[in-house]
């Protein structure tokens, strides 16, 4: 063996590491008492994906938290469905953190797994601080309170003001006018599209259905009713399916390099989106800064005034928390206190769910990308107040996944969106039955 010497050293190192690896001491256990002493010292952990949340929490730890001896530690996470899975896994081991950030549509999943505590008795009376449609998503329409709304994504209509002028288009007030606008643009500039129907973010479609008055999940007694194929949603699906079929709007997915390019070069001249769109447009279409404008979402009839929400999340307290009242206190402070909300807006760029914070210091000026629209935030606040209630169920993830598959295929083949909707309904009902929920037919 010509290589013995040097290799023996390698192996020796390996063995040394094996022998040297010593167990780390387990962390000390915290106070086990079930009585929630709000004034006692408490160390809380908080799973959140909001950027710079640690800076906002520092305000609490140095201010009100110090006085009340409630210290919060931020553990930054990735957002989305994967975090729900992680929370549920941790909850199975009774190790979920005290506080978690959760999207509104994830709340029923967490509640039905008994992961979230009812904090209606600990948080104080906060109902009046939020739009009704938002508050209802945090209570799930019950007397309980499972989370405190943090940010919301009221939906709006974004369009290229300069190109609308160039082609002589009016900003659509209703969805009928929206369809007409799309057709008019096709006539004047056949290579351009008003917008695209994209199936890669289910939140968009859910928000549009919410605006139309859809109730996807409703619970009565022990039974769930799934209404994904209800009349309101069908109306939305058929509307977009029709536009795609006749070629009035594009059928390519959004958030792709091609989509960015289409926005940046003016091949697509409008986008149905939410209040956070300026951030997305800044990276997607940097060359068209200052050329866009925002308007309320088109309505289903001229007299109504409603919008859906796309995105948005809340702060919830878990049933594993040993300091439920303290955690609820912090969650209430974070999402209703003026200083906290201003910091959240400035440091983390979130659009607050609390109504009076939507015009606070951070929202005096329009976003840089929309510097041409001085009343961006006052108008956004007006729209946010009209947020329609949403009805989420315990398996939104399944409905969303089926939506992506079925509607992506339907959009690509320009086939019937109604069939895709039926698929979504059937898959959701089947999954609920499999999970052991009672479903009313």
């Amino acid at each position: 063996m010509p290589f013995t010497k040097q290799h023996r050293r390698l192996v020796a190192t390996a063995t040394a590491v094996v022998l040297g690896a010593s167990a780390l001491a387990a962390c000390g256990s915290s106070d086990d008492s079930d009585t929630q002493d709000a004034s006692g010292p408490a160390n809380l952990t908080y799973w959140t994906w909001t950027p710079n949340m640690d800076k906002v929490v520092d305000l609490w730890n140095k201010g009100p938290g110090k006085k009340q001896q409630i210290k919060v530690t931020v553990k930054k996470q990735a957002s989305g469905d994967t975090l729900v899975t992680k929370i549920l896994t941790a909850h199975k081991a009774k190790k979920a953190p005290d506080l978690v950030q959760a999207e509104y549509q994830a709340l029923p999943t967490l509640v039905s797994n008994d992961a979230l505590a009812d904090i209606s008795g600990d948080a104080g009376d906060l109902k009046g601080k939020f739009a009704d449609g938002i508050w209802q998503q945090a209570t799930l329409g019950t007397d309980a309170l499972y989370a405190i709304p943090q940010d919301s994504g009221p939906m709006m209509f974004y369009y290229r003001a300069d190109l609308f002028k160039k082609y002589g288009l009016e900003v659509p007030g209703t969805w009928d006018e929206f369809a007409e606008t799309a057709r008019a643009l096709k006539k004047k500039a056949p290579d351009k599209d008003l917008t695209t129907f994209s199936a890669n973010d289910s939140g968009l479609f859910a928000g549009l259905a919410q605006q139309a008055g859809a109730k996807w999940w409703t619970a009565s007694g022990d039974k769930w009713k799934v209404g994904i194929d209800d009349a309101a949603t069908k109306k939305v699906a058929d509307f977009w399916g029709g536009l795609v079929k006749e070629g009035a709007v594009d059928n390519q997915p959004m958030y792709t390099p091609a989509w960015n390019k289409a926005l940046n070069t003016g091949k697509q001249i409008a986008w149905v989106s939410a209040v956070w769109a300026p951030g997305t447009l800044t990276t997607a279409a940097p060359d068209t800064k200052g050329k866009w404008a925002m308007a309320p979402l088109p309505q289903w009839d001229a007299s109504s005034n409603a919008t859906g929400s796309w995105g948005g999340s809340s702060t919830a307290v878990t049933t594993d928390s040993k300091h439920r009242a303290a955690a609820a206190k912090f969650a209430a402070w974070l999402n209703t206190d003026k200083a906290a909300l201003t910091a959240l807006a400035k440091e983390s760029g979130i659009y607050p769910a609390a109504t009076d914070a939507q015009l606070s210091g951070a929202f005096q000026e329009p976003p840089a990308y929309f510097s041409n629209q001085a009343d961006f935030y006052p108008q956004a606040q007006k729209i946010a107040k009209t947020t329609a209630p949403a009805a989420w169920g315990p398996n939104v993830n399944v409905a969303y996944a089926t939506f992506k598959d079925a509607f992506a295929a339907a959009a690509k083949n320009k086939s019937d969106f109604g069939d895709a909707l039926t698929k979504m309904q059937d898959a959701t009902v089947a999954d609920m039955k499999k999970q052991g929920f009672e479903v009313a037919e």
Partner: protein
């Protein structure tokens, strides 16, 4: 065993050499198709890597607007932004990955060496059934074990610690399997017998005689494990909640999933992903020579 294979492979190759002169067209045609397939495969594997390398040089505004394979001008800025992101947490992730992959691979190689050697050299009751259970473990994807492992470690109060990621990695059925196969081939029973005759204890025979013979195989085990841990996602994802302990895979994931109202930090993620493959490439380049030694040893032995 390995030497006889090498000889058998070499024989036809040697035999065809004179033949090539007589019928070059036939040989050419045969070689062309596999070469083309291999080239296509190489292209398929390397194109995404090339994309990452080039995209990491683009600034945020160039990323989606300039031609895909045209290098951009933002590499140093991307690097600066990445290092500045949350006080350089990226480098912390990199160090964590190195720790998990390095220590984890070393530990599991050591365990694999011991168990593989024992299974290959000693005859004891239950040997085959232990080996069969291990074989079943090879077939079991580690992904489905992550949640049970989490629940177990939660009972021991070890979650969210470095140990929670390292412990489940220590036992690698595939590593043990490889080590056994390699030990059976590389450590002749006669050598072990001779060691015993000379009065060496079993531990001494293992460390002084058998281990050096197994090293090339163990290097393979180490490399396999290192790459597997480096790319591991689900286990650390479930075990860890403190992002100061995240490995690089998890860290980049949090950069991508920033929530609906924050645009994903594409340029940072792409630059981060590019830097994350550099250590793997370096490791392969360094360790390559052990493999060539392996081939040499086979040839010498025969």
């Amino acid at each position: 065993m390995s030497s006889s294979v090498a000889v058998r492979k070499a024989a036809p190759a040697a035999g065809t050499t004179p033949g090539t002169a007589q019928a070059p067209p036939l040989r050419r045609r045969i070689a062309l198709a596999p070469t083309a397939v291999l080239l296509l495969g190489a292209l398929y594997c390397l194109l995404p890597v090339a994309w990452v390398v080039i995209a990491s040089t683009k600034s945020g505004s160039e990323l989606f607007s300039s031609f895909t394979f045209l290098p951009g001008s933002g590499f140093t800025d991307n690097l600066k932004d990445l290092s500045a992101y949350r006080d350089g947490v990226y480098w912390k992730w990199m160090a964590n990955s190195a720790l998990y992959a390095g220590v984890g691979a070393l530990l599991s190689t050591a365990v694999s060496a011991l168990s593989g050697y024992a299974l290959a050299v000693y005859r004891f009751r239950g040997r085959e059934s232990i080996f069969n259970v291990l074989m079943a473990g090879v077939l079991m994807p580690p992904v489905i074990l992550a949640v049970p492992q989490y629940l177990l470690l939660a009972k021991a109060d070890l979650t969210d610690s470095y140990l929670s990621v390292l412990l489940p990695l220590v036992l690698s059925p595939y590593g043990i399997y490889l080590a056994r196969i390699y030990a059976a081939a590389a450590v002749p029973p006669d050598v072990v017998e001779a060691g015993r005759m000379d009065g060496a204890g079993e531990w001494r025979i293992f460390t002084r005689v058998a281990l050096p013979m197994m090293v090339p195989g163990l290097v393979t085990v180490f490399l396999f494990q290192f790459v597997a841990v480096w790319n591991n996602f689900l286990l650390p994802y479930i075990m860890l909640s403190d992002d100061e302990k995240f490995p690089i895979t998890l860290g980049l994931f949090t950069l991508l999933e920033q929530g609906a109202n924050t645009p994903a930090l594409y340029t940072l993620v792409i630059t981060g992903a590019f830097l994350a493959i550099v250590p793997l490439i370096a490791l392969f380049l360094v360790i390559q020579r052990f493999w060539s030694l392996d081939l040499l040893s086979g040839a010498v032995k025969s």
